[in-house]
């Protein structure tokens, strides 16, 4: 396998301390990267160093540590901007995660623009985080949620997408890569299609950013969200990026310290972006950890990593497909290294427990995509999701554990 010979995944494994631990006496086979990724030592050490030597509040002290922390925080913003192809770092807003980013756009802005009969266009493969906020916004305003269907392979019906855009559509909210199926959506083309009608597009990049280089300028979208913990950074930190022309129109979302220019009992003037959205002391440690994660990812051979993940996906798909009574859910042409499957007579929940006994961590459940799984006629799936630090032994351990389980249930 030439690609994986170039990308040295043996070396990167050593960067992740948890990968050398054992689970129930078996080497950890971590295939739940879709839920959250593991953290390289560089991230763990950056957070440790921050608390040991650099801890201070930001944007308010004149002392040495506060200036250092402020610098670290703001340079992380610039790093994130560069990482996803944003020219103006002020357009990068730190939030708790993708969920908070979507809620900020839904309840902090779009909702204030909706009237009865307006439409929000989402797709059948959205994560609940990209369904429920829009549903609530629609309920409050009398707007209508429209849903782009998904075909048997788990690909978006792009013709239906175009047909569902109307002059009442106020926003398209779309997942870049499906967390349940792995399907990679043709985001750039869909954004262009929506823009023909001047409709803004929010992309949920939770599952694209960990797998592939992302350039929002090239994608052309108006909003982009992702979560730090899925891209090898800490939990509790995420990013909302939005074009200035939109963010400037948002009223303040939360208010308090750090987001004001001047407060008087007669009234308050607010900072511009990004400060306007970052009320209170932020998750400084999270931002520093996220910056370390981005540094880590940036020094990887990303094309090599992607090719390696793809080779793992192909290997796992081949080997699992050969198992009698196993059905893969999600067979899109363009797929990230996420593999959902169901088995005759064995419920995903039982699969999860069985694989766990062999040290193989997969996700069993609905993956916060209940409407999507309903579309495929299953209440749940087992999902193996690979990162660049997984290897072919991980695939084999998964396949062996599945085969063993099937014999047991036989």
């Amino acid at each position: 396998m030439t690609t994986s010979a170039i990308f040295d995944y043996t070396r990167v494994r050593a960067d992740f301390p948890i990968l050398s631990t054992e689970i129930r006496g078996k080497p950890l086979t971590y295939l739940d990267n879709g839920a959250t990724s593991q953290k390289p030592a560089a991230v763990i050490e950056a957070i440790d160093r921050y608390y040991r030597a650099e801890n201070s509040n930001i944007h308010r002290g004149v002392h040495y540590l506060s200036e250092k922390a402020t610098d670290a925080y703001e340079s992380a913003r610039a790093k994130v901007a560069h990482f996803i192809g944003v020219a103006d770092a002020d357009e990068v807003i730190f939030v708790r995660g993708a969920t908070e980013g979507i809620n900020l756009v839904a309840h902090g802005f779009i909702e204030t623009q909706l009237s009865e009969g307006d439409e929000i266009l989402i797709t059948h493969m959205e994560h609940h985080a990209n369904i429920v906020p829009w549903q609530l916004a629609a309920e409050k305003t009398g707007a209508v949620l429209k849903v782009v269907p998904v075909n048997e392979a788990g690909e978006l019906d792009v013709n239906a997408f175009s047909e569902l855009l109307s002059e009442r559509t106020k926003l398209v909210a779309l997942v870049h890569v499906s967390n349940a199926l792995g399907s990679i959506n043709p985001a750039k083309a869909l954004v262009a299609e929506a823009h023909k009608h001047d409709i803004p597009v929010l992309l949920d990049g939770c599952q694209s950013v960990p797998h592939m280089p992302v350039d929002v300028a090239d994608l052309g979208c108006d909003f982009f969200v992702f979560s730090g913990h899925k891209v090898f950074g800490p939990t509790g930190i995420g990013v909302l990026w939005g074009k200035r022309q939109w963010l400037d129109q948002f009223p303040p979302y939360q208010s308090g310290g750090d987001m004001i220019e001047r407060v008087d009992f007669d009234g308050t003037t607010f900072k511009g972006i990004p400060g306007k959205f970052e009320a209170g002391t932020p998750h400084i440690e999270g931002v520093i950890g996220l910056a370390a994660a981005i540094d880590y990812v940036n020094q990887l051979d990303r094309q090599g990593a992607l090719a390696h993940e793809h080779a793992l996906l192909v290997d796992a798909t081949e080997k699992l497909s050969a198992i009698d009574g196993l059905r893969i859910i999600g067979t899109a042409q363009q797929k990230a290294s996420i593999l959902s499957f169901v088995m005759n007579e064995i419920h995903p929940h039982d699969i999860g427990t069985f694989l766990d006994a062999d040290g193989v961590a997969v996700r069993a459940g609905h993956h916060c995509t209940q409407p999507l799984l309903k579309r495929f006629g299953v209440p749940a799936t087992a999902r193996a999701s690979f990162a660049f630090y997984n290897n072919f032994e991980d695939v084999d351990r998964l396949v062996t554990a599945v085969t063993k389980m099937q014999r047991f249930f036989g």
Binding site: R24, E345, I346, H347, P348, H349, D350, T353, F354, A357, A364, G365, H366, Q370, L373, P379, A380, K404, F408, F409
Partner: protein, 150 residues
Amino acid sequence: MSDDLHELYQSIILDHNKRPRHYGALTEATHQAEGYNPLCGDKITVFLRIVNDRIEAIQFEAACCAICKSSASMMTEALFGQSVVEGESIRSGLSRILNSNTDSSPGLETAGELASLAGVRKFPARIKCATLPWHTYQAALRGEAKTVSE
């Protein structure tokens, strides 16, 4: 395979999973409820026909894991023909077993087939799978149409 896993999926559980007893909708049910576990999407419907405080018939339908299905199947066998009061003592007996730690197991000897569910205690994430049918049974008795595992 580990001993814990063997204990969880012992042959009696696998047998109930493969050939669930009292399976299917019950015509002329006097009570019925749907139970749902939002965590994993497991879903079960329990049907009862209760006449003069006696469980004359009990059936279930489910889309759920092996633990949930076999627990439901054993439940129907344990409760069939019992009075509602006896049924409650069977239910609370099992509940005591599932909530006990693994060294002390009150009532394990007298629990009959239901004792085989005790293996679930080593798998905290799976206890709700075993209890969902019983919560749903209780909801049906109380006349609630739906219940959600808490």
